[in-house]
């Protein structure tokens, strides 16, 4: 109690305008019933939440805040064998080789006509720049594409209103991949460049391809949003460090009164691309695809991208001045208003798409920045929200004419009216909110029943767990005039952006319950015990194994020798929902397999000593699960123990 009170005091001293004072006072008596989903009942919304430095994406139900799944995306997951099984290792391949970890910041659901369509969720890797596509029929990572010429993919994976493109803008500008990178770091201004990838998405298969890259001046790209409806065809990127500092950015990148929002006319870029104005540039990047029928990923290294230089091709990009290191750059449901959130600014500027178009037509420019026209601030400005709070970060919309902006420094969500720019309501967050989510809050048609705040600081919100605490999110009911906090729920990693969609949209999208065994095209599948076998190919031994409640076939294998590499290709013969089998073997230097019904997965195992090795099923599958086990005999190299395998027949010799 003492400690809790102390940390609240400490926090309010740190953030003078933060008013948490009495945390329980913010909760109305009907909050519990609003967040309550009875046992056996489903939530109203799916919430796809970035897992931050866990590298994964987590899925929650709303309004209960119950965790439904963690989808492995950019980090290995030994629980599911992701990145450990032979089939999934290629998913994490890059031009740098196998990268087992990353930092997943933002999620973006695929759209049709500016509305969420329930097909895919995209995610960005902030460290080794990549973009991932998760298939919502399987809740598996279906594809990962690396981004060349990039230093950190932060300004991503925001998409256009038909998911024509998902963008990937570099956070850290760096010398281009085909340039000599062995240059002094303080030659940033001469040698460092920004690159923004426009990644096209095949509307049927979802397959991603880097359609083109824009080469920009060296700055930091932070967040982005596509135009919608009337502004479809444009994209807006917040940029900071227009000072082009290369050290102590905390001070040196906060010098200017205004940074920029970069407006991109991507339809114009497409025209230039068609007219052959792009330059083919030599690069190296991995493109990894998971084949659902073969249950196997492949990784291809690609060697070329097409780059459009926006300083040469004048009318693609325009800079709009935006106060102080903008983070959020959000477009309202009508497509007319672009909200910049300068994280060090005392106002929220709202820009008008119509005014921007007129300013460009009238050439109402304030000179150029590195060859790009800078639009006059007032010429693009619709108005400013005065004294909204401290440290605005990100804005979502309710489709009823209101915007909701998160304030990191003053720890609050502020609701304001877009037309008259008046603040309507404030709700405290515990503590220091980063991103916000309203289901569909970035689309043409928000489904604005709830707002979720993803907080950066947890402190005393839950039972303490030593120095490291869980992450904290909060749900607000925003169906009325006033925001009402109804629930705290803990999250994994450090969540950045998240999106949410009505449950029915995902539930009824044709989700798979099993993989049909007849459609299994894995080259080493055993579709039935009569196909189970062990085959030696030199020092490689391939075990074609089946699993069904509750035994493996074969479950006795002899004749493995030191120096052998053993590959267990385990096919789960079950054809019923929710009957995975696991597979683990003693001493394996990797992980377990978790095999879904009808799926085949492969675990590589190199025995390190002579002896008997047990193997077993790790996922409780039936009353006889504990009986689901087997043995492997490993003999010295050069031993003459023949290779044999069986299930049920290897009995003691009769006397």
């Amino acid at each position: 109690m003492q400690l809790g009170a102390f940390s609240i005091i400490a926090l309010s001293t740190l953030f003078p305008s933060c008013k948490p004072k009495n945390a329980t006072g913010a909760i109305d008596s009907d909050a519990a019933i609003k967040a309550y989903v009875p046992p056996g009942k489903h939530d109203e919304f799916y919430n796809f939440v970035s897992g931050g430095f866990s590298g994964q994406m987590s899925v929650y139900g709303l309004p209960s805040g119950r965790m439904l799944k963690v989808i492995p995306v950019f980090s290995v997951d030994p629980e599911k064998g992701y990145g450990y099984s032979e089939e999934t290792k290629p998913m994490l391949n890059t031009s740098h080789g196998f990268v087992p970890w990353d930092d997943l910041h933002h999620t973006e659901m695929s759209q049709t006509n500016g509305e969420i369509n329930g097909k895919w969720v995209f995610a960005n890797a902030n460290n080794t720049p990549r973009l991932a596509r998760i298939d919502l029929k399987t809740f598996k990572t279906a594809e990962i594409i690396e981004l060349p010429n990039s230093g950190g993919n932060h300004s991503s994976p925001f998409g256009t209103e038909n998911s024509e493109y998902i963008v990937a803008g570099t956070r850290f500008s760096v010398p281009a991949d085909d340039a000599n990178g062995d240059v002094p770091i303080n030659s940033y201004k001469q040698n460092f460049k920004g690159h923004i990838s426009f990644v096209s998405v095949n509307q049927e298969s979802g397959e991603m391809n880097i359609a083109f890259q824009l080469r920009t001046p060296g700055v930091n790209f932070d967040l982005a949003r596509a135009g919608k409806d009337k502004s479809h065809g444009w994209f807006f990127f917040s940029c900071y460090n227009t000072e082009q500092a290369n050290t102590l950015l905390e001070v040196n990148a906060s010098q200017k009164d205004k940074d920029f929002i970069m407006a991109v006319n991507w339809k114009k870029a497409e025209e230039y691309l068609k007219a052959g104005k792009g330059k083919k540039v030599k690069v190296r990047y991995a493109h990894n695809k998971y084949n659902e029928e073969a249950h196997t990923a492949t990784s291809e290294i690609k060697t070329e991208v097409t780059v459009l230089d926006v300083a040469e091709l004048k009318d693609i990009c325009y800079f709009i001045p935006c106060p102080k290191s903008p983070h959020g750059c959000d477009v309202d449901p009508t497509g007319e208003y672009i909200v910049g959130s300068g994280k060090l600014a005392a106002v929220i500027p709202v820009f008008s798409f119509n005014k921007l178009q007129k300013a460009i037509a009238d050439k109402a420019f304030d000179g150029e920045y590195e060859g790009i026209p800078v639009v006059k601030y007032e010429a693009a400005l619709y108005g400013e929200v005065q004294k909204p709070g401290l440290g605005p970060l990100h804005t979502e919309f309710d489709g009823r004419g209101n915007a909701y902006t998160s304030f990191f420094v003053s720890s609050e969500v502020v609701k304001w009216n877009i037309k008259d720019l008046k603040v309507l309501d404030r709700a405290p967050t515990y503590y220091s909110v980063g991103h916000l989510t309203i289901p569909g809050g970035n689309t043409r048609k928000p489904n604005a029943k709830y707002l979720i705040a993803y907080n950066k600081i947890t402190k005393d919100r839950y039972l303490p767990t030593g120095p490291e605490l869980t992450q904290s999110a909060q749900i607000y009911d925003i169906s009325g005039d006033k925001m009402q906090m109804i629930l705290d729920f803990p999250t994994i990693g450090e969540p950045h952006y998240a999106q949410a969609a009505p449950a029915d949209l995902i539930k009824n999208n044709g989700q798979l319950k099993i993989f049909k065994i007849a459609e299994n095209k894995h080259p080493r599948a055993a579709k039935g015990e009569n196909e189970a076998k062990v085959v030696r190919e030199g020092n490689k031994v391939h075990v074609y194994m089946t699993s069904i409640r509750s035994h493996f076939a074969p479950d006795n294998i002899e004749g493995i020798k030191m120096g052998d590499e053993v590959y267990f290709h385990v096919t789960n013969l079950e054809q019923d929902w929710d009957v995975p089998h696991g597979f683990a073997i003693k001493g394996a230097n990797n992980a377990e397999l978790l095999i879904m019904p009808g799926e085949t997965s492969t675990l590589k195992w190199v025995p390190d000593r002579v002896g008997i090795y047990p193997m077993y099923c790790t996922d409780f599958c039936s009353a006889l699960h504990q009986e689901m086990q087997g043995y492997i005999r490993v003999s010295p190299s050069g031993s003459n123990v023949p290779l044999t395998y069986s299930v049920g027949t290897n009995l003691p010799p009769k006397k």
Partner: protein
């Protein structure tokens, strides 16, 4: 007072839930959890089983060798990990003689709709006490089920 009425609301809500329980679209395939150990003997016909098949829509003719071959292939993938073709029990009972013990439509109902029948059929419940593994739903099509019965007939006609 307010708290009490809230509690009541929650309780009455859950009573309402229960009374219409089982209408959820997933309930049919959640396998392991036994719903009721008391067979519903009033409506259940142990000769026919429960499902879409009956004496009018399943009729046997001469043994169809092609269909039996197809049934054998499907059985290899989906059944024979747990059932032997002899009368010996593996995970489940051996198949020898099964077409003499059961009507073809009972067999087809059971292999396409196992969960409700495991809950209701007295003989299957007795079998479960021996085997302890509920026969999984292997998502067989009607055609798969019919051809498996043909393969069982072929198995029973050979000595």
């Amino acid at each position: 007072m307010k708290k009490i009425s809230l509690m009541l609301l929650v309780i009455s809500g859950s009573v309402w839930m229960y009374s219409c329980g089982g209408s959820s679209d997933q309930s049919s395939s959640t396998a392991e959890a036994p719903k009721s150990m008391v067979p519903d003997s009033e409506t259940y016909d142990p000769n026919r089983g429960e499902g879409k098949f009956n004496e009018t829509n399943v009729q046997l003719g001469e043994l169809d060798a092609t269909m039996a071959k197809r049934g054998e292939a499907t059985s290899n993938t989906k059944c024979l990990s747990c059932h032997k073709l002899t009368d010996e029990r593996l995970v489940g009972p051996g198949w020898k003689g099964v077409t003499e013990r059961r009507t073809p439509y009972w067999l087809m109902n059971f292999i396409t709709n196992p969960d409700p029948m495991i809950d209701k059929d007295p003989e299957v419940q007795a079998q479960l006490e021996i085997c302890l593994v509920r026969m999984p739903n292997q998502n067989l099509t009607d055609e798969d089920a019919r051809s498996i019965v043909e393969f069982m007939r072929k198995n029973d006609s050979s000595k």
